[in-house]
Amino acid sequence: MTPISAKMSITYRFFIAMATVLFCGTLLLIAAFAINEWYVQHDNLVKKGRGLTQYIAKISQEPLIMKDAIQLDSIVNDVKNDEEILYTVVFNDIGEPITSQFASINYNSPRIIVLRDKLQKFTDIPLMLDFILENEASEEISLPIVISNETIGVVVIGLSKHNIINKIIKSVTVIILFNIFTSLILAVTLFGVSRRIVFTPLKKLTEASKTLARGDLTTRVETVATGEMQLLIDNFNQMAGDLQQTTVSREYFDNIIKSMTEALFVLTPDRIIRDVNDAACHLLGYGKNELIGTEIGRLFNTDVLSSISAESIREHGFRAETESVRKDGTHLPVFLSLAAMIDKQGNYQGIICNLLDISDIKKVSAQLAATNRDLLNEMEYRKQAQEEALCLNLDLEHQKAALEASNKELDAFAYSVSHDLRAPLRGVDGFSLALSEDYAEKLDETGRDYIHRIRKGCIRMGRLIDDLLQLSRIARSELNRVPVDLSRMAEQVIATLQMSDPGREIEVHIDSGMAANVDLTLIRSVLENLLGNAWKFTRNTAKPLIQFSAVHENGGSIYCVKDNGAGFNMEYANKLFTAFQRLHRQDEFEGTGIGLASVQRVISMHGGKIWAEGEEGKGAAFYFTLGDSQS
């Protein structure tokens, strides 16, 4: 690779180009400026000259008429302060100069000073003017002096153009200096920036590509750049990495071939084995030398290759499942794939043949097929079971609907019956009361006892009817869940019980902070029943204790109303929540047997459960949930 000389480097070329552009730009600018400035300054000079000639012509009129040469000398002499004026001469009407030499010629002008040695040989003003015009870049402006349309003389002014050139040179110098200054600054800045973002990374890339070209695939460019340069660096590193991964050395290639578990044959274009790997020898049981030189078709028991052309292999490759014959004569199911080897010029170099032993695959495939069949049968069976389950579900749904309808009818019946029974009961109760009040003295002891029993019976039946009505109302109620402070509600219930039985001293423990989303009215009936029962059944306990608490499990709460009262036999626990079922006699503890059934109904409506634990003489505990569990 030809090394890059300093003059060929991109940095050098870049700055040469930049310098050339700046130089050409400066030249163009100078040329444009100079041309424009020349014309502008020349115009200004001519305008000045014309203005001056007009003024001098005007003020020279009278002295010219009066032939006052001294006054004319004085006029032209006063113009000498301007160095651009080379001469100012007033001529008479016949072209003779009126003003004198030393008044007319501006010996103060630097341009005249340059010419003065040569001017000294002249004494004639016109000859002097001609000499000046010939030897000095100048502009002569003349104007006739006219009075009443009569030309009485001419004023001639010669102006030097040298100042224009000087001004242009000065301006050009400033432009050049400014350009050089700004160019230097720009160049330094551009150099610094370019170096950082372009040339240094480019140099690194160049060095890295040289190293890569020499075969060192581990080379990378570590430089950090920006924009496209960084992209280039990243792409280079990526390419080097890919190359490193994909490019193989001869040894690496040989290792690959050797390590392959699939049989690999390298064939000539006419399908003669040129090289094989170890896996091929192992697969077929031949030695390497036995295989090399053999026509590949002989290794198969079918004419699998006979119909395949070289062009077909080249274009599409070839894949087929076939059987090869091992040296020991056994047949081996294999998967054959062929691919053409084509060089860069497109020439057919050979064929790569790959044999994959598929005997295990075949076995597995057969097993899979059998398993598949079993699975299909199983699926069919499950489908049938699912259909049967569906039918059962439908039956259950029907039964549930029928049951619900029946419950509703029963509730309605209970409500209706209770309601209808109340009227005759009131009659019986009323008349029995009237008898006991009005005819008590007419009855004997036995009669009064009978009336007392009748009244007791009525009262009890009334309670029964009330409880039944309550139960039916509960069944007919719609649940309206609201947040309820259960602790506070329990305290209120206990307070009410205490008010009705002020003489009782009972220790009550109620957990604070118990709350739930429940129907306010219904849950109150639950607590009134449970706490009321606890209150009642601890009547005979020496140190009665009632507890209302909650434990939190599985995201929900289990509430518990517990007492140390009469308790119950667990054998009859399943009857506790059945309507009208009582575990104590009326004379032991009064009650209708509807309370707990109502409680259970309410708990069920909330989606919860209720159960009880107890021991005779030790107390009872009623546990319930309110349908807020996440378990």
Binding site: A69, D73, S74, N77, F102, A103, Y107, Q120, T123
Partner: protein, 319 residues
């Protein structure tokens, strides 16, 4: 009655005292010099001496002097101030001073000295009578006589005249020389000197083209004699003038009226005016026989040998 006389006497004494006071008051004489030329001071000395001789001296006479330092504006200012003074007479020295005074003051007699050509500059209509409140003396000489004297050293072919436009005396002198060009076969080269800077700028251009250099009565020329003479001497150019003080300061040759004697002449006229004679009745005079003045030193540095004819006739030779 005695009482009446006493009062009358007292009244008369008072009148007398008042008159005496007026009589004893000084005669105010204004003096205006245009610039610091020696000739102006010499001329004024002559005037002063002659006035003193005529009895017009201090304290009887009070001189109120002013010097315009070569500025017309200053001269005008001084003239305005003179107007406020109760002058009996105004003496002016120099053409420009006289022109300004004559233009501004018409009710006070003016006696001038050192005005080259009062008719040309229109101060007076005639030498015999100005026709106005002005009279005086002139340093006028014959230019042709001056050129002849010059020719005794070296015939003049090209004579440069240093003059200042606006200073009428120098303009007049230029014109007189120009009038002699054809007759005396020489060429006049006018050279304007309007500021001192013109001398080093223009003279080096002029000198190589001439053989003689005339110094007019320009105040700017007069105040830069040494510089001009030095340059001229290097160029072998003969310098000449009509003013005696310029020869004293370096000009090689001069034919001039003695300013002091001119002053005497002017003083006589001034005395006559103070004695009541109208200036218009007093003719303007000039010296009919000017003197020859030479500067030997300048001749030597110029490389010129002064002819004996000139040396013999010289009134004064400055070394």
């Amino acid at each position: 009655m005695v009482h009446k006389i006493s009062i009358s006497l007292l009244f008369l004494c008072g009148l007398f005292l008042l008159h005496s006071r007026d009589a004893l008051a000084a005669t105010n004489i204004g003096v205006l010099l245009y610039s610091e030329e020696d000739r102006y001071h010499s001329s004024f000395e002559g005037i002063r001496k002659e006035l003193a001789k005529a009895g017009f001296k201090e304290p009887k006479v009070k001189f109120i002097a002013g010097n315009a330092a070569g500025s017309k504006a200053k001269a005008t200012e001084l003239v305005e101030s003179f107007k406020k003074e109760r002058l009996s007479l105004l003496i002016t020295l120099g053409t420009n001073a006289t022109i300004i005074a004559a233009r501004e003051i018409r009710n006070v007699p003016i006696v001038f000295s050192m005005v080259f050509d009062p008719i040309e500059v229109r101060i007076a209509k005639d030498w015999k009578s100005s026709g106005t409140n002005v009279t005086g003396v002139s340093p006028r000489i014959s230019m042709s006589g001056l050129v002849k004297r010059l020719s005794e050293i070296r015939p003049a072919k090209r004579i440069a005249v240093l003059y200042t436009p606006g200073e009428k005396n120098s303009e007049v002198q230029l014109k007189e020389l120009q009038a002699l060009q054809e007759k005396m076969a020489f060429k006049v080269v006018p050279v304007i000197i309007s500021r001192p800077e013109d001398i080093p700028q223009i003279l080096p251009e002029v000198l190589p083209t001439i053989d003689s250099l005339y110094f007019s009565g320009s105040s700017i020329v007069g105040s830069n004699i040494p510089a001009i003479v030095t340059l001229a001497a290097k160029a072998n150019v003969i310098t000449f003038t009509h003013l005696e003080d310029l020869v004293q300061n370096g000009v090689m040759l001069g034919v001039a009226a003695d300013p002091y004697r001119l002053g005497i002449m002017a003083g006589k006229k001034a005395a006559a005016v103070l004695n009541g004679v109208s200036p218009a009745a007093i003719p303007i005079e000039f010296m009919k026989t000017p003197q020859l003045y030479l500067n030997r030193k300048t001749a030597k540095t110029t490389g010129i040998k002064l002819p004996d004819s000139l040396i013999r006739n010289a009134e004064k030779i400055f070394e």
